[in-house]
Symmetry: C2
Subunit: 347 residues, 2 copies
């Protein structure tokens, strides 16, 4: 697709974003009307008011936010716009909420090619449609050249909670099974590969995807979900360490059961990364009572995004607050939280 041809802002006249696009005057209104409102659509945006008015199906809400600063803006399998929609939708899904509405805040750097902005806006709108959420309110700021990095996005999300469970780390208990929704490590490695110009035999694509459908289906099937967590910054290891510590339980993970694709494993070896710590954008863990684990796995496998769901571990009373990795050869070690992450700016 030639984005320059379809861009609703005349590219000859405004090839790049200028400071005035964030200044509250005519240029900003033109950008908002022609590019944002026209593309994101919806009644709420059409009111042109400071806030969107929403009628909700329930009075119990989930509310969450994430900023997105991924570098580069485009990577195999996704881009910052897709990430900003799926990332926030997934945070809502991890509460078992039905994602409904998103806000979208953009911080643009002066000099950003208008075509790049348009490409991100289109991708954002497409991801929202694919997920069934509406972008109902937004904001645009422009910062001087060298004071930003192309585009930063922020989305906040509102979702309806229609279940009566308490889906939190505190609800995890001894006797729970740990279900992983699929192979790990692809998002982080996909971003890293393009950033560092690494070439592998086949392109590694990000796993970036929305997770609400399999989660809501599990709840509808009556699975008594204790906790859900998507495996973003810090990866599987950090998520489990945090949950074990909050719930004061011992999480025992079978290394052999954790799927890592061959090319991801290879890239991790070259780069010196442990796939357990690499970020994902379409993977999650679910803690459910062991007796319901098989049924939960069956439900999850009905959806492409979680067709690789497997039980990969179990929760015991001890060691309290720790994650133990049991290796293929029968040894075991305590999994620690890293100080930072190996991969900055992957989301």
């Amino acid at each position: 697709m030639d984005f320059a041809l379809t861009c609703p802002i005349p590219i000859q006249q405004y090839p790049t974003v200028v400071m005035a696009h964030g200044g509250g005057g005519r240029l900003m209104h033109q950008l908002i009307e022609k590019m944002f409102v026209a593309t994101f659509g919806g009644e709420a945006l059409n009111h042109r008011h400071d806030s969107a008015w929403l009628e909700l199906p329930t009075s119990r809400l989930a509310f969450t936010t994430d900023s997105y600063v991924v570098r580069p803006l485009f990577f195999p399998g996704g881009d910052i716009g897709k990430l900003a929609v799926y990332g926030t939708v997934n945070d809502l899904a991890m509460s078992g909420a039905r994602p409904l509405y998103l806000s979208l805040g953009m911080i643009l750097e002066e000099g950003l090619p208008m075509e790049t902005l348009w490409q991100v806006v289109l991708s954002t709108a497409q991801a929202a449609r694919a997920t069934g959420v509406q972008i109902v309110t937004g904001d645009t700021k422009v910062v001087d050249r060298g004071k930003g990095d192309g585009i930063f996005l922020n989305t906040a999300g509102v979702g309806a909670i229609e279940h009566d469970l308490t889906i939190t780390p505190q609800s995890v208990r001894a006797g729970d099974a740990v279900i992983l929704s699929g192979d790990i490590g692809r998002h982080g490695i996909a971003v890293m590969a393009v950033r560092e110009g690494l070439e592998f035999e086949s392109t590694i694509e990000s796993d970036c995807a929305p997770l609400a459908e399999p989660v809501l289906a599990s709840l509808e099937a009556g699975i008594e979900v204790h906790c859900l967590r998507d495996l973003t910054r810090g990866g599987l290891a950090s998520a489990l360490v945090e949950i074990a510590s909050t719930a004061q339980v011992g999480i025992h993970l079978q290394e052999a059961l954790v799927p890592v694709r061959e090319e991801v494993r290879g890239a991790c070896e070259i780069l010196g990364f442990d796939p357990l710590y690499v970020a994902n954008e379409g993977r999650f863990v679910a803690f459910v009572p062991a007796g319901q684990a098989d049924r939960a796995v069956q439900v999850l496998r009905r959806f492409a995004v979680s067709e690789g769901a497997e039980v990969v571990g179990e929760v015991l009373a001890s060691p309290e607050g720790l994650v133990v990795l049991e290796s293929v050869i029968g040894t075991s070690r305590v999994v620690d939280m890293l100080s930072g992450e190996q991969l900055p700016r992957i989301c």
Copy 2:
């Protein structure tokens, strides 16, 4: 106050923000637990989950977002944290909603002094408390040195709509009075003065303030409010032009009735600005039926933030879609929307 002394992160060890503070590992968790959760408090944050769970008093919501990129971070009368709370609370208030919950997304630049971050966090928490809103969910990202500008904030806000009015630009009609809540131009000039190192006889302080109280009091008093608009980027002029154009009415503004403080007028003359276009962060216009204008002004004047409320104009059927400024000497001119704004990054 010596912020270095009270900072909950040991400043000797971490004098500045490093990439790992956004990496999903131990350093990020330490920052979130010790600085953010401990300061913003509240039950929702204590769940340590991906989203906050909220119980709302109504099923009708207002939802809004703004990013904040003001430069410098601190200015007379405010700072980026105060702005991020009041700005979003005010957008909710402009829908006649009762502000309840905020999300807070931070994009920090590597190298930001930890003390500066702490100072902004304290100010943000204080502003939230002063306004009665809870910060219930947040996110922290760190970008490399030179790819950001200290701190960018994003807040999204959720408020409850407890009235039955349709407070939108479309509701404005001929016969409405235009009420202005106080003197204009202070925020933009305060920021500009410190940025450019200008010195005036007395320091011009930003008007940065929360607006929900006078708005909710007007609604409780039964004033049939047609439209509310806070006068941020683009100032009074841009707000009125946008409303006139949306409602297809003629807004007639009496220049002599629009209060501008002497020192602001002086600074505008030196800088070549028109105060009508200068941004405010604690001023708004209200459109109400002319017959209720006196009563509305009385209600607004009960609050310090709007004690200077005055009727400054009226809405007529013509000229359709335009704002007409009637000057002190009896001439009149059509007020246009500027292309950009004279003052970049004032919010």
